[in-house]
């Protein structure tokens, strides 16, 4: 029996998962918007972040929500170096190469994690993980609410960086007109790396928000990649607002699909949307970024 309260809860939960999707997609779309590459290693990097948050908690006893403040700068650095030292030099600006290099990185990272941590699925138990709130007729878990708030804050910070800092202005200049930016004396390789770093930092925050309620295994990030891709495609490649709205929408769709169809079929729902969006809106996709 479908009570409106259960449905409302499903929608609300979907919104909150969607917020995390949005954050993952934000990183992806940021990188796409500036570097014009699809980062196939995004999911693997999210998994790395999840493991990092896990270790921070289990080994050093750092609460995931605090770990975010530590891991975000750390992952910014990681992303910066990856782009500066590996992806950029290896790809030499050829789209086909970038595709393969980020795929190679994804495979490398994911399987290195599998090798080190094995396939076991791990979770952590936080005392407050199961505290719930009542919002109207719905019941929501505290971590999900926290996630929604944190995503809002992160997005604001990102927006402020893009809008008010000189680096942000440089990023926007490069995104719009790479050659012009270069002529104006902007170090494009540096800006590319900064952007990649920011995108990766988004993943660190997302991982910390996920950890209290989600699980960690070497494929954990993957569940999010295709969803994030879907969102990015849905929202228009390179569009930050699109990523946010798309993330929320997909969260709700998935929650409802899972609710009506069960877990793995819910995933098929996402893939089907993804394929349909790719097939039906390719021109919108191409038009957006250029």
């Amino acid at each position: 029996m479908l009570s409106p309260a259960i449905l409302f809860t499903a929608v609300l939960n979907g919104l909150m998962t969607g917020a995390i999707y949005a954050l993952v997609a934000l990183g992806l779309t940021l990188i796409y918007g500036v570097l014009h590459i699809i980062n196939f290693a995004h999911g693997a990097l999210l998994t790395v972040a999840l493991f990092a948050a896990l270790i921070a908690y289990q080994t050093f006893g750092i609460d995931p929500y605090l770990a975010a403040f530590l891991l975000a700068p750390l992952f910014f650095g990681l992303g910066y170096l990856l782009q500066r030292l590996v992806i950029g030099p290896a790809a030499r600006g050829e789209d086909r190469n970038i595709l393969l290099v980020t795929l190679g990185l994804a495979v490398l990272i994911e399987n290195a994690l599998l090798y080190v941590f094995r396939a076991d699925t791990r979770t952590i138990n936080l005392p407050y993980a199961f505290e719930v709130f009542e919002i109207g007729p719905a019941v929501v878990a505290l971590p999900r609410l926290a996630a929604l708030g944190a995503v809002a804050v992160t997005t604001l910070i990102l927006w402020a960086i893009m809008r008010y800092t000189s680096t942000g202005r440089a990023i926007r200049a490069v995104a719009k007109e790479k050659l012009g930016a270069q002529l104006a004396g902007i170090d494009v390789a540096h800006i590319y790396a900064v952007t990649f770093g920011l995108g990766t930092a988004c993943l660190a925050v997302a991982a910390c928000l996920l950890l209290p309620t989600y699980y960690v295994n070497p494929g954990a990030g993957n569940a999010f990649v295709l969803v994030a891709f879907t969102i990015v495609v849905l929202g228009g490649m390179g569009s930050l607002v699109g990523a946010l709205l798309g993330g929320l929408l997909i969260g709700v769709v998935e929650s409802l699909c899972g609710f009506f169809l069960g877990e793995s079929l819910g995933q098929i729902g996402i893939f089907t949307i993804f394929i349909l969006v790719l097939l039906l809106r390719p021109h919108g996709l191409f038009g957006e970024a250029t």
Partner: protein, 332 residues
């Protein structure tokens, strides 16, 4: 025809290997390497010659494998006929996925993404539907008779996969030497220019996709006969999508022998890794990922490219004046 002789000589040399009494372990190694060489050759037709990089060729490997296994198990179809039907089904899957993608104008990263997504959808479907054995997989009944495409010894298997690889080499060589091949390469280099020269770009890509998918499906069908087992993770998992593209990229993308060469290297690397640290999960793929990055960074034309450069250096033909940068970049 030029090049055919080389292919036949290589095939004859490889065919002679079992006559020297190699161990079962070695034969097993060679068979698995040749399966990858076959799948890699399939990928090479579309990716190497056509420039369309698929990240989801598992879709065709799995379709070939499952259709063959299901026809045998559930419908009692003869294994050889089931194998052929699997190839046909793979080609059909290629036509459907290719038709949808190319008609929508997907290329470059978008084509890679959509193929990946198709493969994943098939994997999830195969892991939940009863006809594919859902999460358990399918075991082909043991029936060690040649009529059932099963053999006591590994040697006949080796010869069959070698024959399949040889056919794929000949197909690719024939493509290279045909109008279709010229059009395919033209599409890879510059779609707009190809259109202006009367090339039906979508039809050419689609043709390449169908041939590509059929070859990969043959690899899948053979896999089932050899291992007598298939499940969703093997059939539609990312491993085969990755090995199928890794082999030609390591060996030399868009060359006849690249996939064969690359597959041997890939498998040697995998085995070497196991020797060093024992059979740990993830190790081989981890190395493949690293190798992929390294090859792109250091030798983007693969072994074939390195060999060609070395040969050019040895012959000491004075290199011509440095070519200017092309104004039209590669379309991706």
């Amino acid at each position: 025809m030029k090049g055919v002789g080389t292919i036949l000589v290589v095939a004859a040399l490889l065919a002679a290997v079992p006559l020297f009494g190699v161990s079962n372990v070695t034969l097993n190694f060679l068979v698995t390497a040749l399966i990858i060489a076959l799948a890699g050759q399939g990928w090479n037709v579309l990716g190497g010659y056509g420039g369309q990089y698929s990240f989801g060729h598992a879709a065709f490997f799995g379709t070939g494998a499952y259709v063959s296994a299901i026809l045998q198990l559930r419908y009692g179809v003869n294994a050889w006929i089931a194998f052929a039907a699997g190839i046909g089904a793979g080609a059909l899957a290629g036509a459907i996925i290719g038709g949808l993608s190319f008609r929508s104008g997907l290329r470059g990263s978008y084509f890679a993404l959509v193929t990946l997504a198709f493969a994943e959808v098939l994997r999830i479907l195969a892991s939940v539907t009863p006809i594919t054995g859902a999460g358990v997989g399918l075991l082909v009944k043991l029936d060690l008779r040649p009529e059932a495409f099963q053999f006591q010894s590994r040697v006949p298997f080796y010869w069959i996969i070698l024959a399949l690889v040889t056919v794929s080499l000949l197909i690719v060589r024939a493509i290279e030497n045909s109008r279709f091949g010229a059009y395919l390469v033209a599409v890879r280099e510059n779609e707009e220019a190809a259109k202006a020269l009367g090339v039906n770009v979508i039809a050419v890509k689609l043709g390449a996709m169908v041939i590509s998918a059929a070859i990969v499906a043959a690899a899948g069908g053979f896999y089932v006969q050899y291992f007598l087992f298939i499940d969703a993770g093997i059939a539609y998992g990312p491993w085969i999508s990755i090995e199928a593209l890794l082999a030609p990229i390591i060996g030399g993308v868009g060359t006849v022998f690249g996939p064969l060469l690359g597959a041997l290297v890939v498998k040697v690397l995998g085995e070497a890794a196991k020797l060093v640290t024992g059979d740990a999960p993830g190790l081989d793929l981890m190395i493949y990922g690293g190798v992929l990055v390294l090859v792109i960074a250091l030798a983007p034309r693969g072994i074939a490219g390195v060999v060609a450069d070395l040969r050019a250096r040895i012959v000491r033909r004075k290199p011509e004046a440095k070519p200017e940068q092309p104004t039209a970049g590669h379309h991706v």
